[in-house]
Amino acid sequence: MAFESTIRENESLLLEETRQLIKSCLNEDRHAQRMLYELYAPRMFGICLRYAKNREEAEDIMQEGFLQVFKSLQNFKFSGSFEGWIRKIMVYSAIAKYRGKSKLHSVLTIENENIIAYENEDILSRLGKKELLQMVQDLPPAYRMVFNLYVFEGLKHREIAEQLDISEGTSKSNLHDAKLILQRAVMNSMKIANQKSTNG
């Protein structure tokens, strides 16, 4: 009980600090803007990395996203989670980037293969976050976008279709293909990892 109350106190303290920080940012206080950036940058960069094909693109998304955050701060009504609000902006920034390049995006034809089932815990113990991230980044842009929006943002196919200006069927199909590609990539990585451990 005491632990819960301490958590609540900490949360309200953080909320108050964030509120003050936002107010200072609205006055164009560069120090406050930097502090706000530093507070949320690691989490947001993690998100941007998933939506980008490489670090450079992630940096671009991040930059555009944070500029939009500072520009739109006066629209934040303190009614919901500030982190959620920033996250939304980052995702929109990624979508905008994707839509800007959408004509160049290719779609692959994926063939089904025999799948060897692994337990997730087993995979996670053998593959690092870096490798998983690389797999997502290696997805074709359209697949990566649908996969991210569906799996991490929890959007429905109808919503994804609206956001990306595609049909619902395309969204479903892209998600399916993305998962197949990732599955194959995971299997390949596991094979290599197994071989290494056998040789080692």
Partner: protein, 484 residues
Amino acid sequence: MDKNLQNIEDLFRKGLESNDEVPPEKVWNAIDQSLEKTTNLTYKKKYYFLKRATAVLTIVVVLLGVYIIRNESKNHKASNEHVITSKAQRNLNQNIDSATEAENEAPAKGLQKDIIPGNKDVNPAGEKEPGINKPETKGESQIDTSTALILSNPAFHGNKNSNEQYRLFSKKKWETISNEKLSGNERVIGKEPWQLDFPLPSHVTFEKPQSLFSRKGKLNFNNEIAPFQSPAKTFSVIHIHTPALSRFYATAFYSPNISFSHLRDEDHHFGNPYSRDFERKEKESYSWSFGVWVGYRSNNKWSLQTGLNLSTLKMNLEPEKIFAQRDNQGKVKYQINTSSGKGYLLPSFSNNPRVGDSLFARSINHSLQYLGIPIAAKYFLSNKRLSVNLLTGLSANILCHGKISTEVEKGMEHEHENIHEINGLKPVYFSGLAGFGLSYNFYRNVSFSFSPTFNFALDPINKNVPVNSYPGTINFQFGITKDF
């Protein structure tokens, strides 16, 4: 298969949901630069309104100036040409005839009762006029030009040998004067039905008497004369009205300023690398001034004025790394450089630095406060309540206070610092003044004025520093002036 795919979703969700990673510094630098551009754009937008307002006001002032100058020249022309209209000439003839009749009839009331045309000194009853002095033949006494009503005796108009004379209401009494006595500062005023029906002396200007007459045609300026009616046939009436010139005046003003700086390397044989660096990273911020002018009008066109004012100059510098160096006393402190001079600081979390140690200084603000003692000459043109003026002068600016405030940080430590001593600032610098103004007399001797004035440094505000700074401001002085 579906189960495996479901596993893939979970796998990546678990693996990447909390994949926090610190972005490289260049991301913030790019954001910082873009924000700087946005801020500059905001400032531009802010100043856009001010610029437009200034442009509109400038046009209004110039147009008013042109209007006043045209009016002045028209009046001058009218007086020089001694225009006698045919109507006026007719009146003159009638008046001469009537004057003879009036001599016999002795008008019953008003001024007609008091003054006999054709006779310089004697009233109809043959007595001395009450309040009217005998004509002064020697021409020694001076006319009080503050306020006067003048009656001209047309009986003399046709007489070339006569020294034309006027009946003058001055200092609350009547006197007869010759035109030689008119000093030239008078303004002669005429209004229907009292036409100006004889030539004026060449040095007297003619003007319509809106200010003297009410809408009903009664005189406003003196209750004693208010019931005075048209002298009808007997006399032509003209009025001299020369408002007393208020010699002294004082103006209290407040002015928002747009400030700027011209920078130049003290040793500029190698170009101006230091100046260029400061020009890039230093931005002028909002500044203000307020003060008092006191002035003396030497005539109705020129005045000399001086006063006191307090003004601020504010600048913001981009955040930057600062390094520990030896100050003038040989102590090692962190040095912060501005275009005006350098300051030293020693934060509590790093109070014993070695030469070369560094800190990060954020939000560097730099402000200077000066007491100005200006002296300026003012040329002005007036038309009723409005006047426009041009001003030029010099100002000695005495340094009152210089301050650098910043927030320094190192790792998790940070501290706010105020530096009250800026090395390199001169105690006094001189600046030139040039501007124009518009003033509106809204109540008796009180006027509202607006004067955009350009204030530019004639010598640098600092010395023995890498960069010499010549600050300038465009002041938008809003003031209230009281004449004494």
